[in-house]
């Protein structure tokens, strides 16, 4: 049973108003919530701020942030992923699982489905572009031509996908998808962390992921690579589309500005937050390195191995969001995809 966006928005706003009233009256802040203990179903719970413990205060802050993000998503008609919520404030949530649980509990507390909050599980993913998906029951989803993506239906419910007019596909992270769209270039954008590189390893080196009519090399790795983090200047130089005529192109100041030059991650001028590799990240990276060595001299294996080694040396990782801090991910993608389509 779907609840209309307007209804959900007004429910969220009434919670926020109640909090504001408490602030105005100098009272302790409360949110009526449910906790979902395994097996025992949902039990009502009031979360207070500042509350009795730091744990409760933190929980309050987490719920409030999710409420605000869900509200904004509903009002603007966009779809949020749980992962996106996590990245809004990694320090606050600490673990992705915290977000997942709170979102589900929040949906219960508001008596709506999670989808009604415009929050989807990251694994489902959304698509955007001139793509139509015909389901088993003959309904057609898409094309998604607006700014808002459409949630991908479950793989089992898809009958056919029409992709005649598609010239390229961009996959942004996060999980592996199965394809059967021969002859269409597919670009993959993944995080600069061991899991992100592992996705590339699966796409490029493990043929079982892609159907047999599909050659793995057709999947191209767009980024993020260490050079994207380290060599912002030379990345900008590559903006000049290579052609024999403009080898002597003068400094193109306008494109430089419009792309919002970003400093190298290793520069002392870099003010972006940097995440350090955890012990788990290092172990995962070494595990992937081992598998890559077994893949032999495949150029992709060599490239991925080098990226993992450099990542371990630098001791840092970067989410796709890192590239977007300056709000220029779209232009970065335009440039990269353009270069790859022209160059190769």
């Amino acid at each position: 049973m779907t609840t209309s966006a307007g209804t959900v928005v007004s429910r969220i706003e009434s919670i926020l108003e109640a909090i504001l009233d408490c602030v105005a009256q100098g009272q302790e802040l409360t949110i009526d919530f449910v906790s979902n203990r395994s097996g025992s179903g949902n039990s009502p719970q009031t979360v207070r701020f500042p509350g009795r413990t730091a744990v409760e205060a933190t929980k309050f802050a987490r719920i409030l942030l999710i409420l605000q993000l869900a509200h904004d998503a509903l009002v603007s008609g966009t779809v949020l992923t749980k992962r996106h919520i996590f990245y809004q404030h990694q320090g606050l949530f600490v673990r992705q699982r915290t977000v997942d649980e709170l979102v589900d509990n929040l949906a219960s507390a508001l008596n709506v489905r999670r989808d009604d909050l415009n929050i989807v599980a990251s694994s489902k993913g959304v698509f955007s572009g001139p793509l139509s998906i015909r389901l088993q029951d003959n309904t057609v989803i898409g094309p998604a031509t607006g700014e808002v993506g459409i949630a991908l239906p479950a793989a089992g419910s898809i009958a056919t996908i029409s992709c005649e007019i598609i010239r390229w596909i961009l996959i942004v992270e996060k999980d592996l998808i199965r394809f059967n769209c021969p002859h269409i270039p597919i670009f993959v954008l993944a995080d600069y962390d061991p899991d992100g590189l592992n996705i590339l390893r699966h796409y490029r080196l493990k043929s079982e992921i892609v159907s047999q009519s599909f050659t793995a090399p057709a999947i191209r790795w767009l980024g993020i690579k260490s050079e994207d983090l380290l060599e912002r200047e030379s990345c900008l130089d590559m903006l000049r589309i290579p052609s024999p005529d403009n080898l002597q192109l003068p400094e193109n100041q306008s494109s430089r500005e419009s792309t919002g030059s970003k400093t190298s991650i290793s520069s002392t001028e870099c003010r972006e937050p940097i995440s350090v590799l955890s012990a788990r990240d290092r172990n995962v990276a070494v595990g992937i390195l081992k598998k890559l060595v077994d893949s032999g001299d495949d150029p992709t294996a060599v490239e991925l191995g080098r990226e993992l080694q450099v990542m371990l040396m630098m001791g840092i990782k970067a989410e796709i969001q890192w590239l977007d801090e300056a709000g220029n991910l779209t232009e970065w993608l335009d440039t990269k995809i353009g270069q790859m389509l022209l160059g190769a």
Binding site: E233, S264, S266, T268, V276, R282, L289, R306, Q309, G315
Partner: protein, 318 residues
């Protein structure tokens, strides 16, 4: 007064992938890279030819290599977590395996940075939970003889770099959370916990006389501490990128530093100023090393992401 250095030679594509570490002996330079092979370059010949190649040293690549001051021993640490000891045959001048450090505490994450004592008898290594281990590598069993904790057990900050003093008295370590520790090897205790850098410390080096500790990393600053009282005695500023490598000259007069933007700098310790800056590349430098003084002039070398090793010589004769 600035000093003049000239690029005397560059060994292009010294490895097939990024060079992560260099270590010098009186006559050779050892280089380690993302490939499985270690290389030994002859530094007595002006063209720095490859003297020996040690294949299959580290299957997943090698991130650190170090030598003992006496030039007879080397150690290398690989991405797979393995640590190997190498011995110089004085007759032939060839390096051969001197065994491997084994046991439950040698696995990925248990060994990152390494340093050998002057005589090659002891090896210090850092771990991903901030511990510093010291191994008796001269002994056949290569047993662990010390384990320094930094922070509560198992929760210290990743140990990015380590150094041993020439007299064997001190161990110094630099960590991802910006802390620097100096340990007294005689008592087996922490001597100083040095603060001030706040960002990851990628390089730490004890001066030849054992009186100073230099530490540097993502702050782009080289902090100098004295080992007598643990006092912060000065900063060397001028790098604009992460500092990845430090090395004291043999006399302790100069400090060499390399950074992620490809720049190598020579600093006068007495005057606290940068006396020379060079860059052959804008790609990351992972290692900068002085060569032990054999001829008339000082020499140093750099290596990193561009896979080449550049040798510099002090310009003399003015």
């Amino acid at each position: 007064m600035s000093k003049q250095y000239l690029t005397t030679h560059t060994v292009d594509d010294a490895h097939i992938t990024d060079i992560f570490s260099l270590a010098a002996t009186p006559r050779t330079l050892l280089s380690a890279s993302g490939s499985s092979t270690l290389h030994v370059h002859d530094t007595t010949d002006p063209s720095f030819p490859l003297r020996q190649s040690i294949p299959d040293a580290h299957k997943l690549g090698c991130h650190h290599v170090c030598t003992s001051r006496n030039g007879l021993y080397a150690a290398s640490a690989g991405f797979g977590g393995e640590v190997k000891i190498w011995e110089l045959n004085k007759e032939t001048g060839d390096w051969s395996s001197g065994g491997e450090i084994t046991g439950p505490t040698v696995k990925p994450g248990e060994v990152w940075a390494i340093a050998l004592s002057e005589d090659g008898g002891y090896l210090a290594s850092t771990t991903n939970d901030g511990r510093i281990n010291v191994w008796d590598v001269a002994d056949q069993s290569k047993a662990k003889i010390r384990e320094y904790e930094t922070g509560s057990a198992g929760s210290g900050s990743f140990g990015m770099c380590v150094d041993l003093s020439r007299d064997g008295k001190f161990t110094a370590s630099g960590h991802q959370n910006g802390s620097v520790y100096v340990f007294n090897n005689d008592t087996g205790r922490i001597l100083y916990s040095l603060s001030g850098l706040a960002k990851p410390v990628r390089a730490v080096a004890i001066s030849p006389a054992g009186t100073r500790v230099a530490a540097a990393g993502d702050a782009g600053i080289i902090a100098i501490y004295d080992t007598k009282h643990g006092e912060h005695v000065g900063n060397l500023t001028g790098h604009s990128s992460w500092i990845t490598s430090l090395d004291w000259s043999d006399t302790g007069e100069y400090l060499l530093s390399g950074s992620m933007d490809g720049k190598v700098k020579v600093w006068s310790i007495e005057r606290s100023v940068c006396v020379a800056t060079h860059s052959e590349t804008d790609k990351a430098l992972w290692a900068v090393r002085w060569l032990p003084k054999t001829g008339r002039s000082e020499m140093f070398c750099t290596a990193g992401a561009n896979r080449s090793i550049s040798f510099y010589r002090e310009a003399t004769g003015s």
